[in-house]
């Protein structure tokens, strides 16, 4: 689901390629995980992409006399990926924001949407607007206009913003009762309403904005040509046909097209004050504004890592002891656990814990994150401890036995402490790795340091300051651990011979 580097996979090439082989392909970036109606793998042919953004990309490519070439990029990295030249344009339900207009060359808006509130059916009369949700948890996608609105809502109404990385789980968690409302655009809300029952979309518009395509600032000339193609498609009804095909055409689009074709100034967002957008602030002010949130997120990272490691170490010791001393059945069970956990991605394990078993056990996000990381790391720790236990020389164990120690005493007084010295370095290494792996739990809506940094970067349209601050904070957490590890190793140095 998440990827930090803009990893690129060419999925499909256009059928026009042969006819237009003299021209380089028109590379466009999108994220099929967003699904229909934007970009998705065709249900009938997974090798083919379909969606209105796919058709708009085709439209532009045709207008430019080039063949479209899809570049898969995580939704959150599209701007950065386009800026660094992985693709010429990003198209994937990308919002028209002040930040984007400041940092990218955006196309004219091609679709108008409304931010709408969804609540459980039973709460429809109670929660009509954000001001009704004081003390309640309201979900949305991280790094979106809706998320910005919810952050304001935290300050103004006392609600709690909960950030997700996809648009399915906010609604499923709404129905499950993990959150009390969802704020997302009407296209996403309508889409989920078709497959998930039990929630109501409130009619009031919280804010309005549009979808746009994004080019790198240096590519403004190509953007202008794309604008001409979009405007022509607005005039001749091509865009209307595309959106009608995908069942998202509505009365809000003609006024938008009229304004675009009349070259009127169209605000990026309506319904909320965007004068204080981070993108228009100085970097210093933006940093000052986001710094407290980064510190809070760091504390979450520290708490989560320490708690998870403590449980992982405890479980790891028990698993290792069971594998070294247990009966055959116990050993087989524990080996199975270790292999299962090591053989499957931690992300999958986190999903299963939080979403997979939600119908039976509704774990809070932090608890699921803590348990997920702890259970995963316990498997790795147990292997370290098992090999450390087995590294203690037989002579040490026999000497203890001849003195009359029970096997439990041999373990706790002799073998365990000696194994600990062997395990210390890899264990501290794992703790530092866990600090960084804790960033994965943002998929469970836990706002830890990397996620907060990502939001900061998205909002100011640059990774330079957020990335530097984030790296500095991780270093401030991990360097003391490294120093502590070295001191402990020095103090409990294992014999070299």
């Amino acid at each position: 689901m998440r990827s930090f580097a803009a990893w690129i996979l060419v999925l499909a090439t256009s059928t026009l390629a042969s006819a237009q082989s003299s021209q380089p392909p028109f590379r466009w970036a999108g994220d099929p995980e967003g699904g229909a109606p934007y970009v998705e793998a065709s249900p009938t042919d997974p090798n083919t992409l379909v969606g209105f953004d796919v058709e708009i990309a085709d439209l532009m490519a045709r207008g430019l006399g080039r063949a479209p070439q899809f570049v898969l990029v995580s939704f959150y990295q599209i701007d950065q990926s386009v800026s660094r030249g992985d693709a010429e344009i990003g198209l994937s339900g990308i919002e028209d924001t002040v930040a984007r207009r400041t940092t990218m060359a955006v196309t004219v808006p091609y679709y108008a949407f409304r931010e709408v509130l969804s609540v459980r059916d039973g709460d429809a009369g109670k929660y009509r607007t954000l001001s009704d949700l004081a003390g309640r948890r309201v979900a949305t996608l991280a790094g979106t206009i809706a998320y910005d609105i919810l952050l304001r809502g935290e300050r103004e109404y006392g609600l709690t913003a909960v950030s997700y990385e996809d648009d399915l789980h906010p609604y499923s968690d709404l129905v499950l009762g993990r959150v009390d409302a969802v704020l997302l655009d009407n296209v996403l809300a309508d889409r989920r309403k078709r497959t998930i029952s039990g929630f109501t979309i409130q009619p009031a518009t919280v804010a309005g904005s549009h979808y746009v395509g994004v080019f790198a600032q240096a590519n403004a000339t190509l953007r202008d040509r794309a604008n001409d193609i979009l405007k022509q498609a607005m005039r001749d009804g091509t865009l209307e046909r595309i959106f009608r095909k995908w069942q998202v055409w509505n009365d809000e689009q003609p006024p938008l097209y009229k304004a675009v074709l009349a070259s009127e100034t169209i605000p990026a967002v309506t319904g909320i004050d965007t004068g204080e957008s981070a993108a228009t602030m100085s970097w210093w002010r933006a940093t000052a504004r986001y710094f407290p949130a980064l510190v809070r997120a760091s504390l979450v990272t520290i708490a989560l890592s320490c708690l998870s490691m403590a449980l992982a170490v405890t479980l790891g010791i028990l698993i290792a002891s069971g594998r070294v001393y247990g009966q055959r059945g116990v050993r087989m069970f524990l080996t199975g656990y270790v292999e299962l956990v090591r053989g499957t991605p931690v992300l999958l394990q986190l999903f299963v814990l939080y979403y997979g078993i939600a119908a039976a056990i509704k774990l809070p996000a932090f608890a699921a994150a803590f348990l997920g990381l702890a259970l995963n790391y316990a498997a790795y720790e147990s292997e370290i401890y098992r090999s450390a236990l087995e590294a203690v020389s037989v002579g040490q164990l026999e000497a203890a036995r001849t003195l009359g120690f029970s096997e439990r005493q041999v373990l706790t007084l002799i073998r365990g402490p000696q194994a600990f010295r062997f395990a210390l370095a890899p264990m501290m290494n794992d703790f530092i790795a866990l600090l960084k792996d804790s960033s994965l739990v943002s998929v469970l809506t836990v706002m830890e340091l990397t996620k907060q940094t990502q939001i900061f970067a998205t909002n100011i349209g640059s990774w330079v300051i957020p990335g530097t601050l984030c790296a500095a904070m991780y270093l401030m957490m991990s360097l003391p651990l490294s120093v502590l590890a070295r001191r402990l190793e020095e103090r409990w140095k294992a014999p070299t011979a």
């Binding site: 001849t402 003195l403 120690f405």
Partner: protein, 236 residues
């Protein structure tokens, strides 16, 4: 009659068998190691078991210490008898209260100081209060001439010091039988002579020593009786 070292003269060892080994067989894989080993050791004796490498002398000591399961026969140590095959945890525990062992490579607990090595078993196995056990440990180490190294870690000790600490550790629980495997293997001639004298000081009418060694000179100088192990059997 005791000598100036408090030793028992060879002539005065009384007929009071404290270790009795009767027709012990032990096989590891296809290889027979003990093939009917039989031996009776009286209280107060110092027995040197000599033999070539692989003759079975170390295995015999390990069997007496309960570290090797033998196939048939019987080993009795100060009233505790072990038969062939696996023994119960209780009988092993009883046996180990009767036997102390000093390993060829000392096997001191690497993560503990010398004195901790010595008082650990009295405290945790015999439930002696730690201050008392520590005091006794220091006294014992003084007797052996290594009390000045009480706080040193094993890796900081010389070979001779480590061996004396290992002896102190084995004696700290006051076992009637002390087993020593190749005690002179890492000692120079001067240290061997010292060890020989030391072992004689340790022996009283209540303690018996069985020593596996290659060192003939040491065996004859230290032991009250020298026996030979060959082909898994014991002969005089």
């Amino acid at each position: 009659m005791e000598s100036t070292y408090g030793v028992i003269d060879k002539a005065v060892a009384v007929h009071d068998p404290v270790v009795t080994i009767r027709d012990v067989y032990l096989q590891r894989g296809p290889r027979p190691i003990l093939t009917g080993a039989t031996l009776s050791v009286n209280r107060g004796e110092i027995i040197a078991l000599m033999g070539a490498s692989g003759s079975g002398k170390t295995t015999l000591l390990r069997a007496i210490a309960g570290l090797e399961t033998f196939d048939k026969g019987a080993i009795a140590v100060d009233g505790v008898t072990m038969g062939g095959g696996p023994s119960t945890a209780a009988s092993i525990r009883d046996l180990r209260r009767k036997v102390g062992m000093v390993f060829q490579f000392h096997c001191l607990f690497e993560h503990m100081s010398a004195v901790q090595n010595v008082w650990l078993a009295p405290v945790h196995v015999h439930r002696v209060a730690q201050p008392v056990a520590e005091h006794r440990a220091i006294e014992l180490m003084r007797t052996l001439g290594v009390d000045h190294r009480a706080r040193a870690l094993p890796r900081e000790l010389s070979g001779g010091e480590a061996q004396r600490v290992a002896i102190a550790r084995a004696l700290a629980t006051d076992p009637p039988v002390l087993l020593m495997d190749e005690p002179t293997a890492s000692l120079d001639p001067a240290r061997r002579s010292e060890l020989s004298a030391l072992l004689r000081t340790l022996v009283s009418r209540q303690r018996t020593l069985l020593i596996a060694t290659h060192d003939e000179e040491f065996a004859h100088s230290a032991a009250t009786r020298v026996l030979h192990v060959s082909g898994g059997r014991v002969s005089s």
